[in-house]
């Protein structure tokens, strides 16, 4: 089986038509579905949060069979993810895509669970600690993208589960849970 870094690629990754956007509707639907899954899988395991359409993305090129997705194809697959709510465009020009292999709501739930697991129901913790602290080591929160984290926090703030307060610098930003 082929690997991309530590990621195990499925067999069809070496199937040349996989890298050509198929014109026939039914075939294309299946192709899109497989690409969506693959992208989400890859991003989840490799902790990739952002895909830039104009940048190199290892998944979009297969050096073994010498095939690469065209710009049109990449756009099509990312658009499919966005339509499904598993991704969002970060800019008006649709050049950068935020990948939500967990939806914002799921991240929010993970945060709450984190709070419960670490006895922080009424506690205070900094953003830094959530992202890189010892408690988050080995959890999904480790290295979480700032944008996504902010969105999840906002969501929880609206629900009254926590309060975000600013510190003296951005690194000191913290949250107080009230779960």
């Amino acid at each position: 089986m082929q690997k991309l870094g530590e990621f195990k690629l499925p067999h069809f990754f070496n199937y040349p038509p996989y890298f050509t956007l198929q014109p026939v509707r039914d075939t294309r639907e299946k192709q899109i579905q497989l690409w969506k899954e693959l992208i989400l899988d890859y991003c989840k395991t490799q902790k990739v949060f952002v895909i830039g359409l104009e940048e190199e993305f290892p998944l979009f090129t297969n050096t073994v069979i010498e095939r690469s997705l065209t710009f049109e194809a990449r756009e099509a697959f990312l658009l499919a993810l966005v339509s499904e709510g598993r991704a969002e465009w970060m800019d008006k020009g649709h050049r950068k895509c935020l990948i939500l292999w967990h939806r914002i709501q799921e991240w929010a739930d993970i945060l709450l669970q984190f709070a419960k697991d670490n006895g922080l129901e009424d506690g205070v913790v900094t953003i830094e600690e959530i992202r890189f602290g010892t408690e988050s080591q080995g959890t999904e929160l480790q290295g979480i993208d700032r944008t996504i984290l902010n969105r999840a926090l906002k969501l929880l703030e609206q629900k009254g589960k926590l309060v975000v307060f600013k510190g003296t610098s951005t690194d000191d930003e913290g949250i107080k849970f009230s779960v």
Binding site: Q2, P10, P17, V24, L34
Partner: protein
């Protein structure tokens, strides 16, 4: 009950008459009855409502299958006609269908009647549209020209030449003083003479043509005016039950066709007679090239081949299209087909897409094809058709979900469709003995 003692006419599969050597068709009339009003009549049949074709050698009568399927196509050799009666105009003839009368003498050696039969007077009743006067003029012309005698003379003289060649004769002059056509010089001389006579007749023709050219502009304008009138006439009438109107309109249509302007009312008139005959002729012609091309051939190729075979009197692309579209009305084994890509082809009715797809599936599952796919040229070799046709088949197979395309700097190739084999819920799952498994076996994993 009168018998049919006329020589039969052999027809091709598409209903076209098989002509004698050197026989040329000169005039067509539809809706024609041939009958003999003499009493008693023992041998001339009553032929109803068929197509009458005047040729240089014969009068051919071909039944209209819709009207009378039992009678077979018959002919009256012009050689057996002893007299053509001049047309007598009377009050009665103004209202009735035009009639032409001629006398046929029995001639058993030509297949006309049996020995001991009487001469009869035959009446041609022209019930359909058609210029009867022009027909009569041509009829007289052909009958007087006696083209069949030249054919017979040619046949007997060629046997004479054979006999003479047997006896000793040297020198370029034959016994009757004409220059002999022997050897290479003979062939060259023959060619020369042919060119000279063609040249002269062309010159004569161009004299008239020069005169025509000076009038050309006026002619074109006149023809356009007529066409516009026809178009507006057909649009304003919703329910044309007026026979006279239809008759003159169709005459105009034929006039325009002969000048080369596309008939504007084809849909209403179910195709002019010209297109019907062309359609049948085309159906006959297409058989051989179609088989040679593997059962499917590009329309453009047929256009070139057909016109090249005709030599003169070339048909326009529009004529070809109209002729092909008329095939639906006749019982011919070929159809015109348009692919999604816009390419038009002619193919046998028996051609089965399913068969082609099966062959493609077999080809694309071979280990080489699993590894690197197939190109249109690969398919062309297996299917026995031209690469352009093969590409159309591959595209059809793709649209049916049998194949997938691979577009790369290496070119345009097709693979078996694996997408349908991959499990929706587990993309790593590979079923044993499936197409996916075969593909994996054929493509060794790298890295």
């Amino acid at each position: 009950m009168t018998g049919n003692s006329l020589p039969p006419v052999k027809l091709t599969d598409s209903g076209r008459p098989v002509l004698l050597p050197n026989e040329i068709e000169c005039f067509f009339l539809s809706g024609v009855d041939l009958l003999c009003e003499d009493e008693p009549n023992t041998w001339f049949p009553h032929l109803k409502s068929g197509l009458l074709i005047l040729t240089t050698h014969r009068l051919l009568w071909i039944p209209d299958a819709a009207v009378d399927a039992s009678t077979s196509a018959s002919s009256v050799p012009l050689a057996s006609i002893s007299h053509i009666f001049p047309h007598k105009k009377s009050l009665k003839s103004v209202f009735a269908s035009p009639r032409v009368r001629f006398q046929v003498s029995p001639s058993p050696e030509r297949g006309v009647a049996t020995a001991g039969s009487r001469s009869v007077v035959v009446t041609v009743v022209v019930r359909g549209k058609g210029d009867c006067d022009a027909f009569v003029a041509k009829f007289w012309e052909n009958w007087r020209a006696r083209a069949w005698e030249e054919s017979e003379k040619a046949m007997s003289s060629s046997s004479n030449v054979a006999a003479v060649a047997g006896s000793s004769s040297s020198g370029i002059y034959s016994s009757d003083g004409t220059v002999r056509m022997v050897g290479v010089s003979g062939i060259l001389r023959k060619e020369q003479e042919m060119w000279e006579s063609t040249d002269k007749s062309l010159q004569d023709a161009f004299q008239d043509l020069n005169a025509l050219m000076s009038k050309a502009k006026e002619m074109v304008m006149l023809a356009e005016k007529m066409r516009q009138k026809l178009l507006s006439g057909s649009n304003s009438q919703t329910n044309t039950t007026n026979d006279e109107e239809m008759g003159s309109k169709e005459e105009m249509q034929e006039l325009l066709l002969s000048v080369g302007i596309i008939s504007p009312v084809t849909k209403e008139s179910a195709g002019a007679l010209y297109h019907q005959q062309l359609s049948r002729q085309l159906a006959d012609f297409v058989k051989v090239p179609l088989d040679r091309a593997g059962g499917i051939i590009n329309l453009i190729d047929i256009y070139c081949l057909f016109n090249r075979a005709r030599g003169t009197e070339l048909i326009s692309p529009d004529d070809l299209l109209q002729a092909c579209s008329l095939w639906e009305k006749f019982d011919v084994p070929i159809v015109l087909r348009k692919f999604d890509s816009g390419v038009m082809v002619i193919q046998n009715k028996s051609h089965s897409d399913e068969e082609v797809f099966t062959k493609i599936k077999v080809l694309v599952m071979k280990p080489d094809a699993l590894r690197s796919g197939i190109s249109p040229s690969d398919a062309a070799m297996t299917l026995g058709v031209a690469p352009a046709m093969a590409k159309e088949h591959l595209l059809s197979a793709e649209s049916k979900g049998i194949l997938c395309r691979d577009v790369s700097p290496d070119g345009f190739r097709f693979y078996i469709n694996l997408f349908s084999e991959i499990d929706r819920d587990d993309m790593h799952l590979v079923k044993d003995h499936g197409i996916y498994a075969s593909w994996i076996r054929a493509t060794p994993a790298h890295g």
